[in-house]
């Protein structure tokens, strides 16, 4: 007659190490769900893709050659607020309605003097600290000429590529239109003019 060896008391965390005995379908769905926070982090902070709607960026996005098709764009969210340059296309939270995001082109950085367009009450404005002046490429766009410079914190992402339609696949042009460029006096050029006179 053999006496069974005394088994050690079960560990308090043994259930964690052994894993729960669940149906395979539940295990599979839990495994997929556990990746959800990682996916949310990626789409919120690294890269995202989005459809463009609205005509405010008319020649750049949704041109006539699209024939009613919408554009799919790649948004770079990592380091979006650092080292912004004039002419880059950004996606920002509208200061008028925080639940709405809008897409515009950066015209003036902090310290720049911008000659404003029609609805703005003042003809010439200095962009305040940590603010940017954004304008759409189209004439009829709801931009900084309506609500003034926006805070840098409202900027969500930079638009780097057009993904769809395939005929226009490629990077987004990062230059200001010539008519807009005349209306901006960059901060660094203001310093030069002070020292040269």
């Amino acid at each position: 007659m053999s006496v069974p060896a005394p088994t050690p008391p079960p560990s308090r965390w043994a259930f964690l190490r052994r894993g729960m005995h669940l149906p395979a379908s539940v295990k599979l769905s839990l495994g997929v769900l556990s990746w959800l926070p990682v996916a949310i982090f990626f789409f919120d902070n690294v890269y995202h893709i989005s459809w463009v709607s609205g005509r405010s960026m008319y020649p750049t996005f949704l041109p006539d050659s699209n024939a009613g098709m919408r554009d799919l764009i790649l948004l770079k969210k990592w380091n979006a607020k650092n080292n912004l340059k004039r002419g880059e296309v950004v996606v920002y939270r509208s200061p008028v309605d925080p639940e709405v995001t809008a897409i515009k082109r950066v015209v003036g950085l902090e310290g720049d003097v911008v000659l404003t367009k029609k609805p703005f009450p003042v003809s010439e404005v200095v962009v305040p600290r940590n603010h940017v002046w954004v304008e759409g490429d189209d004439i009829h766009s709801h931009d900084s000429n309506h609500f003034g410079a926006i805070s840098m914190h409202l900027i969500q992402a930079r638009v780097t590529h057009i993904v769809w339609p395939f005929s226009r696949l490629g990077t987004v042009e990062k230059s200001l239109p010539a008519s807009t460029q005349k209306r901006v006096i960059p901060a660094e050029r203001q310093l030069v003019s002070i020292f040269s006179t």
Binding site: S2, P4, T7, P8, S11, A14, L16, R17, R18, G19, S34, W35, P37, V38, I40, F41, D44, K81, R93, S94, P95, V96, D97, P98, E99, P128, R129, N130, H131, F147, I150, S151, M152, H153, L154
Partner: protein, 235 residues
């Protein structure tokens, strides 16, 4: 760690035995053949293995190693890394979308909050969702990249607010202003030591990080949105 980076595979001995037999895990092993000879193999134990006496004996003890520490070393390292990534992402999700525990500093909210304390911020109210006049909010300062503030909401979109309540004391005219759409007007409780909307104007609601629910350093204290509490009779 011990299990993660050791070359041992198979079930671990029980926890008491680990302490006694842990040198076995790090027993020197010869990985490469020297002089063309075969690698040394561990000598078989001299003790006789207990033979199963009958088919009706108890089943072999279950492998008690956690599932992410089974298998070869590369699988253990990758599995643990993936679990760490998932855990960090879950923490990030909670602190950005649900709730945030943080430190507060500065004299601008002095009667309400101490100069340095710990607070709990509800991120469900970020972007101005469900914020009313009188709430304590945490937000980014619009004219600075990495400064956050903790102030009280004075006016919501469409409200008329007094720009500087202390202007009459200085002999200036008080000015009233309508808070623009999508913005809020904020001020500290300690007006003389507060940098708030009087200096940088109305704050866009998109910069609001959340509503301050409670303060837990120096005793729990929950903040309600009613700032107009009556003073104690003695004061």
């Amino acid at each position: 760690m011990l299990r993660l980076f050791s070359r041992h595979r198979g079930p671990l001995p029980s926890r008491r035995l680990i302490l006694l037999s842990s040198p076995q895990l790090f027993k020197p092993q010869i990985f490469f053949r020297r002089n063309g000879t075969a690698p040394t193999t561990p000598t078989p134990s001299t003790q006789p293995q207990p033979q199963p006496q009958s088919t009706n004996s108890s089943p072999p003890p279950e492998d008690d190693t956690p599932w992410w520490l089974r298998g070869p070393r590369w699988r253990r390292v990758i599995g643990t890394t993936i679990i760490a990534i998932k855990f960090l992402a879950l923490c990030h999700l909670i602190t950005t979308k649900v709730i945030l525990v943080s430190l507060s500093e500065g004299p601008s909210m002095l009667p309400t909050l101490p100069t340095s304390g710990s607070i709990i911020v509800s991120r469900l109210n970020s972007r101005g969702r469900g914020i009313k006049v009188g709430d304590l909010i945490a937000a980014h300062r619009p004219d600075d990249m990495d400064v956050m503030f903790l102030k009280r909401v004075i006016g919501m979109p469409g409200d008329y607010v007094v720009v500087d309540p202390m202007a009459t004391g200085r002999g200036e005219d008080t000015m009233m202003l309508r808070v623009p759409e999508g913005h809020c007007w904020i001020a500290g409780d300690n007006l003389s030591h507060s940098i708030d909307s009087r200096f940088y104007g109305p704050v866009p609601l998109g910069l609001v990080m959340g509503k301050v629910l409670a303060q837990y350093s120096g005793g729990w204290r929950w903040f309600t949105s009613d700032p107009f509490t009556k003073p104690e009779p003695g004061e």
